[in-house]
Symmetry: C2
Subunit: 306 residues, 2 copies
Amino acid sequence: MIQKLIANIKEKNAPIVVGLDPMLGYIPEQVKKEAFGAFGETLEGAAEAVWLYNKAIVDATCDLIPAVKPQIAMYEQFGIPGLMAYRKTIDYCHEKGLVVIADIKRGDIGSTSAAYAAAHLGKITVGANTYEPFAEDFATVNPYLGTDGIKPFVDVCKQENKGIFVLVKTSNPSSGEFQDRIVDGKALYEHVGAKVEEWGAEVRKGDYSNVGAVVGATYPEMGKLLRKIMPHAYILVPGYGAQGGKAADLAPYFNADGLGAIVNSSRGIIAAYKQEKYANYGAEHFAEASRKAVEDMLADIRPVIG
Amino acid sequence: MIQKLIANIKEKNAPIVVGLDPMLGYIPEQVKKEAFGAFGETLEGAAEAVWLYNKAIVDATCDLIPAVKPQIAMYEQFGIPGLMAYRKTIDYCHEKGLVVIADIKRGDIGSTSAAYAAAHLGKITVGANTYEPFAEDFATVNPYLGTDGIKPFVDVCKQENKGIFVLVKTSNPSSGEFQDRIVDGKALYEHVGAKVEEWGAEVRKGDYSNVGAVVGATYPEMGKLLRKIMPHAYILVPGYGAQGGKAADLAPYFNADGLGAIVNSSRGIIAAYKQEKYANYGAEHFAEASRKAVEDMLADIRPVIG
């Protein structure tokens, strides 16, 4: 799957991913009106609003981008109807040729991690039939439980040619509380990064592995170090834009081949119409504002890769 | 909510929780036959089998136990129908007066953790209406992202009188890879444990806080140390029984008041009928075997608390 992601990135000349993290507060009134008109002010209505909003943004940006990253929490908050909108969004993005990186941050042990891996990246057998419950391409995974928690995901990646991104250094202010603590002269995130390289060895095809890493744009010095520790891991980079990460800081996340990193923007793209910069589009044309924000993000990032 | 859990534990004289982690392989043929007969060999059929299996076990054990711990991965693996069975199980357990500890191991940052907290422990507002998407009482939470990831859960615990159990030292063999690494002379899990005590301060009522911790039964020496580091945290103890934890090892997880810990058993209870010890029940009477396994677990654990 990493090869498909790289092919998409090259084809679009776009090492970026759009985070589909729809909060109700981002969704324009006319979209909510349509959805609530059909389903009432219910979880079903909220889920329909999320779906209509996502569809418009995907339609307006899919020719420019290689991938999307839906944040499952934003769907899970609307219960079962929300998760139905999540699945509908995934299927629609696949129809449009996009790679789907599921930001699910799951992680457990043994058979439980295996169940998550089957749910999101693999297949589940019921009697004589086989199903793909959520059918994403990549999933983000939490490493706190160690190899027992990661291995079942790697096994499914191997069988199904899917991928994972392991949380190594997250973009948030308090990520250092545990991740930066010094163990044997190195930060914990360095140890986790070394494990990512190790876990990825058996699912590497060519220069990159199906096991990647999450490293926040807000910590470029650490990004530089982790790039060296994990030469074969693709780095998923959150924190650009709204969280404060700048394009100039992104260079160290890439390898000399111009590959190796994919930069996420969520709010900065999907709620672009709310920014002063794109105010001229108005809420009516929120999807065009998102398209312009993608173009601006690409113009900002492309020169950095060189 | 910790007060309700404690009241239930005292009433039943049972510091235990039954893990409702239904794998298809555990479910007796006659249950699957009934479910597949009604819904086919589909995700809906699997979800119905899970529900029928859970209901029978809850009916057979609910007068003996204070709480259940459904592992959401085992439902998520059956997609949307699986999650509908998860919700149905939660509602049924509440009808039976049980506290529901959702083993979801979620954890993200800021608004994303807030969305998970709303989904599982809180409420979500859609227009003029308010919903409880999954309506659990406690949730397990992963600490790798630091305070940013935990605080939104604590806020919801405060508003809604709900609780969390933070992963501190998990029961699996490779949990030590990161959790045991030495930072400033102490293991990482000790630092996480100290944070649990700190995070819990604002939601403490009486001797215990609504912020508890997960510490595996398989590491009793660490349990003893963590009991001291987190005097006000209830400890959720996985790893008893099938994973190798013994009753004699459980004493250090409890405080002098005989409270402070709740021991989980999943497979050992719900799939008891598959053990040689309970083979006389047969698959037909799987729920009675589960009841006997609960009674045996109580007989094993009660003397340890003293």
